[in-house]
Amino acid sequence: MNTLFQDIAPAVSQWMVPALILLIILAGFIKKVPMYESFVTGAREGFDVAVRIIPYLVAILFVVKVFMGSGVFGDLKIALGWVMTKGGLERYTPSLDLIPLALTIPLTGGGAMGVLADTLTRHGPDSFVGLSASIMMGSTETTFYVLTVYFGAVGIKKIRHTLPACLLANAAGLISAVILGWVLFGRLCPGP
C-alpha cells in the first residue's frame, strides 16, 4: 500500500491538471465551442479580481507576519506546558508541539505548509508529533486569508456570522486532529 502510494500519488497528481484540461477541450470540441474566444472571454475576468484584492492581501499578510514573527507561539507553548505539568496532564504535553501549526493554519495556508515541513523534519514524519501534525494540516484550512481576500474581492464589509462559523469549523478540525492523533498513534508516544 505504502510503496504503491509513494510511487503513484505524485504521478497521479502531476497528471490531474493535464487530464482536466483534456476533458474540457474534448467536451468543447464535441459541443463545437469557439474555444479560443471562449477562453479569452473568461480569462479577462481574472485580471480585475486579482488587482482588486491587492490591498486586502497586504493588510492580512502584514498583520500575520508581524504576529508570527514575534514568536508568540513559542511563548504560548512554554506557558501551556507549565500549566499542563502542574495540572497533572504531563502525559499529553507532546501535543504542545502542534501549537505553532494549530495557530498558523487559521491565519495563512502557505505559512502553515512551512510550519508543517519544519515540524516533520524536526520530529520525523512517522513520529507521534509528525503524524498528528499531518492529520491537523488536512483537517481544516485558513480562515483569515480566505475571508479577507474573498470578501475584499466583492467589497463586502459586514460579514455577519461568517467569522464565528469559520472559526468553529477550524476549532472542530484542530481539536479532532489532536484527539485522533492520540487515538490512532498514541502508542508511538512514550510516557513521560
Binding site: 505524485p10 511563548d75 505548509m113 514524519p125 463586502i156 462559523a165 478540525g173 485522533l180
Partner: protein
C-alpha cells in the same frame, strides 16, 4: 470583528516582540525566533552568547520591521502570480461552461446545493463556480481553487440585495471552504515523502475523519448562526425589494425590525 482581530494581532505581536527583546537583552542572547530568522537568512551566524543588550534590542526590532515590510512585497508578488493563474483557470472554466460541463456538474449536485444554499436559484452561475471551487479544493488543486472561489463570490454578489453585507449563501460557502473538504492532500503527502516518511499515507484515515468533523461543524454552525437575531440580515431598502424577491423565494419577514447585528 475583523477590525478587532487585526488590531489585537498587531498589538500582541509588537508588544511580545518588544518584551522578549528586553528579556533576552538582560540574558545577553538573541530571542529564539530572531536567532532562527537570522540563521535562515544568511545560513551562517552561529547564535552568540554574551551579546551587548543594545545589540539584542536592535536585532529584535529589525526582525519585526523586516517581517512587516516583507509582507507588503510578498502580497504584491502573490497577486502578480495570481493574475496569470486566474486568467488561465477562468479561461478554461469558460470553455467548460460553454461546453455544458459546469451545468452537468451543477445538475448532478443540485439536491445538495439546494439544501446548502437555498437562496441560490437552480441554474444560477454561482452554483457552477462554487462547485468548481469545492471540487478543486477536494482534489488538492490549491491554485485552481482560488480563481473559482473568487468567481463564485462575484456570482453570489449578483444575488445580494445589500451590497456591503454578506448573504447566508456567502457565509455557508466560506465556512465549507475554510473547513477544507480535502480528499487527496497531495501537498501534505509530498511534504511527508520529502521528509523521508516510510508511511506517507499513514495519516489519511485520521485526516478524512477530522476533515469530515470540521466540515459538518461548518455547515451546522453556518445554518444555526444565520438564524440568530444578532446576525440577522439588515432590512432591505424598499426600492430594490420588488425585483429582488424574484430571486429569493423565502420571505424574510422574521428579520423585519431586527437591527443589523454586525459589531
Amino acid at each position: 470583528m475583523l477590525n478587532k482581530i487585526w488590531f489585537w494581532l498587531l498589538l500582541i505581536g509588537i508588544l511580545s516582540g518588544a518584551g522578549k527583546g528586553a528579556y533576552y537583552a538582560a540574558k545577553g542572547e538573541l530571542p529564539p525566533n530572531v536567532a532562527e530568522a537570522q540563521a535562515g537568512a544568511d545560513g551562517s551566524a552561529p547564535p552568540a552568547d554574551n551579546l551587548a543588550a543594545a545589540e539584542v534590542i536592535r536585532a529584535s526590532g529589525a526582525h519585526l520591521t523586516n517581517e512587516a515590510l516583507d509582507a507588503a512585497e510578498v502580497a504584491v508578488k502573490l497577486c502578480i502570480t495570481l493574475i496569470g493563474i486566474m486568467a488561465l483557470w477562468l479561461g478554461l472554466m469558460n470553455i467548460a461552461k460553454d461546453a455544458g460541463l459546469v451545468d452537468a456538474l451543477a445538475r448532478a449536485m443540485r439536491p445538495a446545493m439546494r439544501w446548502l444554499f437555498p437562496d441560490v436559484p437552480d441554474g444560477h452561475p454561482a452554483q457552477g463556480s462554487m462547485l468548481m471551487n469545492l471540487s478543486a479544493n477536494a482534489l488538492g488543486m490549491g491554485n485552481a481553487a482560488t480563481p473559482f472561489g473568487l468567481k463564485a463570490m462575484n456570482d453570489l454578489q449578483t444575488l445580494n440585495r445589500v451590497p456591503d453585507t454578506c448573504t447566508n449563501a456567502m457565509s455557508m460557502f466560506l465556512a465549507i471552504n475554510t473547513s477544507s473538504v480535502t480528499l487527496i492532500p497531495i501537498t501534505m503527502i509530498g511534504l511527508r515523502i520529502g521528509a523521508g516518511s516510510t508511511n506517507a499515507a499513514g495519516p489519511m484515515a485520521g485526516l478524512l475523519m477530522a476533515t469530515t468533523i470540521s466540515t459538518a461543524t461548518a455547515i451546522v454552525a453556518a445554518k444555526t448562526l444565520s438564524r440568530l437575531p444578532r446576525y440577522a440580515l439588515p432590512d432591505v431598502p424598499s426600492n430594490i425589494d420588488a425585483d429582488g424577491d424574484a430571486a429569493r423565494p423565502q420571505a424574510r419577514a422574521d428579520h423585519a425590525g431586527v437591527k443589523d447585528g454586525e459589531d
